[in-house]
Each structure stands twice: as C-alpha cells, then as structure tokens.
C-alpha cells in the first residue's frame, strides 16, 4: 500500500503541471479506492490530496518545555571546562538576543490601524475605523538590524584619553580627585591607578582570603603628589580607599622650570635602582610607564629614567619619590658650596645666567684641590653614571653588510633631496623638468586615442 501511495504522490506532483494526466490520476485513484474502505463516502480527489500532507505532530519538545532563558543559556553559555580554557570571553562571545525588542502590540507585518489599540478611538468627533494601510518595508529591515546588532559582544570602548596602559584594564587610568574631607576639596587634583591586583591572606579560621589591592598616585600637576595602597574585597572599594589615603599623604616635590627635575639623581628602594636624568623642554617622558604616569600627575614633563634591578612597581614608585624628595634646588647647592650656580644653555650661545647665589661667595684660594666641582657629579653625591659603550651590532662585521652599504649608497641623500624638491616645486620631480616637461613621475605619452 505504501508503495502505491508513493506512486500517487509522484503522479500528483506532476499533474499540477499538465491537465493531460488528470485522467490517469483518476484511474489510479480508482484503483487505490478499494483499499481505503473507510473513506468510501468522501470524493475520491479529496482523499488523494489530503493524505500525504498530514504531518505527525509531537506536542512536546524542548522548545515548549523550557523557558526562553534556559534555551538561550544552552546556546550562549560555555562549559566550565571551556571557561577554564578562556572560551566565551572577549570578541566572538555569544550573547542572548531579546527578540521582543522593537515589537509593539498591534503593530505587525501588515500595517493595520487598530482603534483603541494603536490609535485613539476618536479623532475629533469622528470615530476612527479599522483600516489597512500600505505595508511598511522599513519596519522589517529595522527589526532585523536591531537583532543583528544585539547578538555580538562589543568590548567597552574607552576614548584614547581615558584609556589606561593596556586595553580596558585599570592601571594607568584616571579615577578623579580624592573625596573632599569636610569642607576641604581636592581641586585640580587627579588620581591615577598604578596597580590593581588580587592578593591572598591565610586566616586561621577562614583559610585563603582574597582581597583586591590598589596602588594609586594623586597629584595636582604642580608639585604636590601622594601615593597610597588600598585593600578591599571589591576593586571599586579598594580604589576609593587608596585614592582617599593618597589624598592624606601629600608631599611637595620640587620641579625645575615647571618641566623637569633639578639635576640628575640616583635613587634606590630595596634592590630597585633608578637613574634619573634631567632633560630639556620637548624631550618628553622616556621611562617606565609607572614613572611616566607618576610624572604626569606630579607635573614633570621632561625626564629620562632607567630602572635597574627588580621592577616591582611599588618599589619603583617609592624609589622615585625618595629621589625626588632628596633633590637639591639650585639655591641649596649654592648655599652648600658657597659658590654661584651658573647656567649655560647651548640655544643661548652659552650665555652665563646666574640661577642661585650664596650669601657669601668663596674665592678661588678657598676651594680645595680635591673638591668635586662638576655640577652633575656633586648633585649625584660624588657618583658617576656608568654609561656602557654601545658596541656595533654583530652584522656590521659580515661581508653582506658591506654589500648592503654599497648597494644602498646611492639612496643616502634621497630623503633630503625629496624635502628640497617638495619645498621648491611642491612635488618630487627631476631637475630636467623645467627643460623637458615629460621628466616627471608617472608621465604617460599622449596617444592619438587620447
């Protein structure tokens, strides 16, 4: 029987396209008729069409057994093992879509006005009738777009100014001035996070106890700054604690000409050593990122610092603060030495400028022969930075380096020539161009077709 039904199906399928086959279909149906005894009263043709379309319906499935939440979770969540491997994080993370968004009761595919539901019943004195308006194709597109936007994970966008050292992490980010104490407000202050990490502590009763530790620096960009460590169970609380503690631990640091340190200095905390060098305006902050952030908060704009030894961040910052606090101003140096401190700048053609004078100045006879007279060396406490000689890279000894130099020799002044040509002609062109106009870059001879 099943075979014959299949055959009927085949025939029915074809008969849609051709009337010629109708007779054949009827014949077949008559043959089938004997088998469907229960359907004897029903017209033959109806039976033939109804039977194959009937679908077996199972009324239970996980679609109607589980709530939407659970369904979405099944699609979007990551197994515990997967999470441990870092899956389901960042870009590519699947998120649940709220399909109800953008859908309003009474508004649908066919644009129908429903008085009392989508529009008021009365317009003036007139009763509004239910009415079908032309379909709005935009609505469907809008819905699809809304759903498309919803599904993917978008990382938190921070403007480059408020971004920290790395991604959306806290270190390097600004968290505003410390909270006011009574009526004292910290105007013009800004706090920057230097470190935010979780720390553990063993308790006798509770075992491993986790806390968040925040190390921050706050300052007014004009020499006042403070550092503090804050710990709490939550990052937010730890940051707040650290920030407010830093506000209470302010110190004043000397800044030379509002842009750099007074002199080169060496400082140390534990085994962490920092060599700080004074730099001219426009040099910028060339140092460890934590020192850079600290300098920005203090108000130092130009400096070079080299960290040697362990780079424990808290140690670096503490060493740097110790160094800044131990600086000697020009006046202090002049008073110590009982000599004038005179500044010579290359840009001013080494014109001597007296920056500090002692109350009484010594004469040449009073200066000992073995006295340290070098300004930098004296300010460093009779030390000298060991600057290792930079050896030429190994490849400069290879024969291929010679080859390279020979091959590229003709390009040695290209950049300068380019600048000169741009200044002269507004474009890079040959010196022949004045005489022969075709002597320009990208010249094409004009053909007759043009």
């Amino acid at each position: 029987m099943s075979a014959s039904v299949l055959r009927l199906n085949k025939v029915l399928g074809k008969c849609v396209y051709g009337v010629r086959l109708t007779k054949d279909v009827l014949n077949t149906s008559q043959r089938v008729q004997n088998m469907f005894t229960t359907c004897a009263n029903v017209p033959i043709l109806t039976v033939a069409i109804c039977t194959p379309i009937s679908v077996i319906v199972r009324n239970t499935s996980f679609f109607n057994k589980l709530p939407a939440e659970a369904l979405w979770k099944g699609v979007t969540s990551v197994s515990n093992a997967g999470r441990k491997r870092g899956r389901g994080k960042g870009i590519g993370k699947k998120m649940a879509k709220d399909l109800n968004r953008g859908q309003v009761i009474g508004v649908g595919k066919s644009n129908i006005i429903w008085p009392g539901l989508t529009v008021p019943v009365l317009r003036g004195r007139e009763l509004v009738q239910q009415q079908k308006l032309p379909e709005d194709p935009e609505r469907e597109k809008m819905l699809i777009k809304l759903r498309d936007d919803m599904g993917n994970f978008r990382p938190l966008r921070l403007s480059p100014i408020e971004r920290g050292w790395s991604g959306t992490k806290m270190p390097g980010r600004s968290i505003g001035p410390p909270d006011p104490v009574g009526e004292e407000t910290f105007e013009g202050f800004d706090t920057k996070v230097l470190e935010l990490k979780s720390v553990f502590n063993m308790k006798g009763s509770a075992g491993r106890k986790r806390q968040i530790s925040a190390f921050v620096v706050t300052g007014n960009k004009n020499g006042s700054a403070g550092i503090a460590l804050g710990k709490a169970l939550e990052a937010k609380a730890a940051l707040r604690k650290a920030k407010n503690r830093a506000g209470q631990k302010m110190m004043y640091l000397e800044i030379f000409n509002n842009h750099t340190v007074y002199h080169d200095f060496f400082c140390q905390f534990g085994k962490t050593k920092i060599f700080v060098t004074k730099k001219p305006e426009g040099f910028g902050l060339v140092c460890h990122r934590a020192i850079k952030t600290t300098c920005e908060v203090i108000g130092i704009k130009d400096l070079y610092a080299k960290v040697e030894g362990p780079t424990n961040l808290q140690h670096i910052i503490k060493a740097f603060f110790i160094g800044l606090l131990h600086q000697k101003t020009h006046q202090m140096l002049a008073d110590e030495k009982k000599l004038h401190v005179v500044e010579f700048r290359e840009e001013n053609d080494y014109f001597p400028t007296v920056v500090a004078s002692p109350a009484t100045c010594r004469t040449l006879e009073e200066i000992n022969a073995d006295e340290v007279m070098d300004y930098t060396q004296y300010a460093l406490g009779n030390r000298v930075f060991l600057k290792k000689k930079r050896l030429p890279p190994f490849f400069t000894k290879l024969p291929s380096w010679e080859n390279y130099l020979k091959k590229t020799q003709y390009t040695r002044n290209r950049d300068k020539v380019k600048v000169t040509l741009l200044a002269e002609y507004d474009e890079v062109q040959s010196f022949y161009t004045e005489k022969y106009p075709e002597c320009v870059h990208g010249y094409r001879e004009q053909t007759e077709a043009d």
Binding site: P280, E281, G282, H340, V341, E347, C361, I367, Y378
Partner: protein
C-alpha cells in the same frame, strides 16, 4: 645648467632696476649716493650702536629655528670667575651684534678680458673657469666665463655666487633663492612679525651688495617702521642698518615719536645726529647739541625737517611737561629732606 641661474639673475636684475628707480624718485638729485662711506664712519657706527640699545639677555635669546633644545649645563663659579665669563659674554655679544654692511648695489658690467671671435659657436653652452685653490676668499677668487660669442670675461656677481656656492657651499645657504623671499610669502612673514627671521636668513642667503638683498631688507625695515615694532629688532645686529635705512630715506619721524614717547632723550638726540650726518644738506644740520639742552636740539629738527610736525611737537611738549614735573617733585623731596 645655466639657464636657471640666468633666470635668477634676470629676476634679480629686474628687482634691482625697480630698486634703482625707487631711489631715483626718492632722491631729488637724481644721482645715487653710495651709503658705504657714511655707514662705516666711526661716528655713525657709534650712534647706531647706541640706538641698538644692547641688552645681553635679548642678544643671547633663544631663537627657535627648528633645532631641538639641549639640556643646560651648570657650573659652580666664584665671583671672579663669574665676572670673567660675563666679560667673555660681552665680547661675544659685540661679535654677534656686528652689523651687516650697508653698501651700494653692484652693477652688472663684467670686465672683458679678451675678444676671441674665432671661437664663436665653439660650444652650445658657456664655459665657466673657477680657481678653486685653497686659501682664496670668495671675493678674490678668479672666476671667468667664455661666452658663446667667444668673449672671455670675468663672471658676473650672480655667476660668482653660483660657482662659489657650488665649490664652497656655506651651511644654510641654498643655491636657489628660498620661496620665503618671494613677494607673497615675504608679505605673510612680515605680517606675522617675523622680521628678525627674514633678516637673518637674508644675511645668510645673499651678499650685501646684491640688489635683491637690499630690496628684501628695505621691505622688512619699512614693515617694521609702519607697524612700529621697533622692539622686535632691538638688541639685534639688524637695528643699526634699520636706523641707517630710516635716516638715509629721510623717514625717521615714526621712530623719533616712539623714542620721545618712551622718554629716551639720549637716543632721540643720537637719531637726529645720525640724520644730520647722513643728510648734511638738511636745514637743521647746523644745530649743535649741548648736553642738558636735548629738547631744544630736538625742537630744531622738528621745526625744520620733520614731516609729521604737529604730532612730534605735541609729544615733545608732553615730554617737556613730564621733565618739568619730575624736577618739581625732586625739588619737593629734597626740600622735605631739609636740603636747600
């Protein structure tokens, strides 16, 4: 190679012609005077130095000409050592303030050495022969040109400049004139008040007897005078030539007004003296300055030679009043202190 330099020289010649025309219209005599003997006169030099009003800090000020700054150096010095370095700085300032010479523009008529017409059409280009032996100055160096018609002549000033620059380049000098000296760009720079930059670069790029140099400096000086930005050139090497230019072209009135208003009577007197030396035919030239009688001396100039008489007289009157009041106050103070 030479078509461009000829083009340049042609441009320079055009400008020089214009310049000469301007001078002719300025001068009633119609013959151009040579400013060099007057400018190098010792008295004139002294007056110009006085007008420059040397301030060491300004002389040694930072010029931001595109070079990165360096870390300053510091030294511990005793009082004697400090005096010594200050003295050295003063000597250096003298050097730095050496004024660019004011001389007559050269005339383009090179001396012909020989006429060898049999060499006509010997080549398609001129031949330039340069003596590049060591130890000869750029001015004395022998440079000759064989023209296309076979004439052997000495090189024109522009050709000399080109050859000297080719064989002995000077740092910062360009073979072709920088665009900033072209009229439109120059105007923009002068509007921005970058007079010193323009004059510094002009000194570097040109020779003092080049007509284009004289034209550019004249334009700059006139811009300074019109805008009355005298302080932007003070304590620079350009102030002397600037004051000389004003006196030479008989337009010192604006500058004089500025000096009187800022109560710099000694400088006012120096300026008028300079005017008298440069223009001996001026009506007030016979007036002699006696110390203490500055106002009278200035009055003589204002009455007979100034073109802005009313304004200057008002300013002078105000200055006289000021001095009178000051004297009265001083007398009052002395009286209060019990002096006679």
């Amino acid at each position: 190679m030479f078509c461009r330099s000829c083009n340049m020289s042609f441009k320079a010649q055009c400008i020089s012609k214009i310049n000469i025309l301007r001078h002719i219209t300025n001068q009633t005599t119609g013959v151009e005077r040579d400013p060099a003997p007057v400018f190098f006169n010792a008295n004139v030099q002294q007056l110009l130095k006085k007008l420059t009003r040397v301030d060491l800090r300004t002389v040694f000020r930072t010029k931001r000409y595109g070079v990165a700054l360096k870390t300053p150096e510091y030294k511990f010095l005793t009082a004697e050592e400090l005096n010594m370095v200050m003295k050295e700085a003063q000597e250096k300032a003298e050097q730095k303030l050496q004024m660019p010479p004011v001389v007559k523009a050269h005339v383009d008529e090179p001396e012909v050495l020989s006429y060898d017409y049999e060499l006509q059409k010997h080549s398609e280009t001129k031949f330039v022969f340069t003596d590049i032996s060591f130890g000869i100055s750029d001015v004395e160096r022998t440079i000759v040109v064989r023209d296309l018609n076979g004439v052997l002549r000495k090189a024109t000033p522009d050709e000399r400049l080109r050859m000297n620059e080719t064989y002995f380049p000077k740092p910062g000098r360009k073979i072709r004139m920088p665009h900033m000296f072209e009229k439109e760009y120059l105007k923009r720079l002068l509007d921005q008040g970058k007079y010193e930059f323009v004059l510094d670069r002009a000194c570097l790029q040109f020779e003092p007897d080049q007509p284009i140099y004289q034209d550019i400096t004249a334009t700059t000086y006139e811009a300074v005078d019109t805008a009355r930005h005298y302080s932007s050139l003070r304590s620079t090497r350009h102030f002397g030539p600037f004051a000389f230019h004003l006196a030479w072209n008989r337009c010192i009135d604006n500058f004089l007004l500025d000096l009187i208003q800022t109560d710099r009577l000694d400088e006012t007197v120096a300026l008028i003296q300079l005017y008298h030396i440069v223009n001996p035919e001026a009506e007030s030239a016979s007036a002699k300055y006696k110390p203490g009688l500055e106002h009278k001396f200035i009055q003589a100039y204002v009455e007979s030679d100034s073109k802005k008489r009313s304004v200057l007289e008002l300013a002078l009157q105000a200055n006289v009043e000021l001095h009178k009041q000051r004297a009265e106050t001083e007398a009052g103070i002395r009286r209060a202190h019990g002096h006679a």
